[in-house]
């Protein structure tokens, strides 16, 4: 069973390190728009690379979409799909 809380915690840490948000990545709502919270397109690239390193996955081309990296929730769904959880 996928540990959602653990995955979310790791995602939040990546966001804290790389997303350059104007809000606290550790407490923002899982459905809050990260781009509206200050994440630029360049920062989203760093987030993607950070997630790949943290979870040992690689985002395939079809997942390189703005809406995949839009929220903690959407990122979690993508990560779970990639790790087979």
């Amino acid at each position: 069973m996928t540990d959602t809380a653990a995955i979310d915690a790791q995602i939040r840490t990546v966001l804290k390190d790389h997303a350059r948000l104007s809000k606290d990545a550790m407490t923002l709502d899982v459905n809050e728009d990260l781009y509206q919270a200050g994440m630029t397109s360049h920062a989203s690239v760093n987030v993607m690379l950070g997630l790949e390193g943290t979870f040992d996955v690689e985002f395939p081309d079809h997942m390189l979409k703005r809406n995949v990296f839009n929220t903690v929730s959407s990122i979690r769904a993508a990560v779970v799909e990639l790790i087979g959880g």
């Binding site: 360049h42 690379l49 979409k65």
Partner: protein, 159 residues
């Protein structure tokens, strides 16, 4: 696979019959902070380079190490500008499918490959233009695309 600024199977001449084709201009622009690109290079190294840039882009960027970050920043801005101009941000397009190709005389053109090429083709893109700039800690790019669409004028067939 070679990319083309013009779609390879599109005729060199365009039917300019105003009743059959409408050409629209789409544009995208992006501004990137060079020091942040440098930070990405330091943080992620080859993973960043190889994920975002083509061999051609990397070779040009590293040919002058002191200019590497600004050259890469301008190219990153060009890819983002392309995504905006062609509406590809939600399509799942790899950054390496969009390339800034530099000619020996310094001219640059946008080349599209893979999914970026296919989406551009389906959109009706018939020509693109690209311009890059950098000054201080900022690099910018603007991409313009001419899109050919069928005219919406009513048919003159009689019933």
């Amino acid at each position: 696979m070679d990319g083309f600024p013009l779609l390879p199977d599109f005729p060199n001449s365009i039917d300019v019959n105003p009743s059959s084709v409408v050409c629209r201009l789409k544009v995208g622009m992006d501004l990137v902070q060079i020091s942040r690109i440098q930070a990405s290079l330091e943080k992620f190294g080859d993973r960043f380079m190889q994920r975002i840039f083509t061999e051609h882009e990397m070779l040009y960027a590293i040919s002058a190490s002191v200019l590497q970050a600004e050259r890469l920043a301008a190219r990153f801005a060009a890819k983002e500008a392309t995504l905006k101009a062609l509406g590809l941000a939600g399509k799942g397009v790899a950054w390496r499918d969009m390339e800034v190709f530099r000619f020996p005389d310094g001219r640059c053109e946008l080349r599209l490959y893979g999914r970026a090429f296919e989406f551009a083709k389906s959109l009706g893109v018939i020509q693109t233009a690209l311009s890059l700039s950098h000054d201080g800690d900022y690099a910018a790019a603007i991409v313009a695309a001419v899109v050919s669409e069928p005219s919406m004028s009513a048919s003159t067939d009689s019933i």
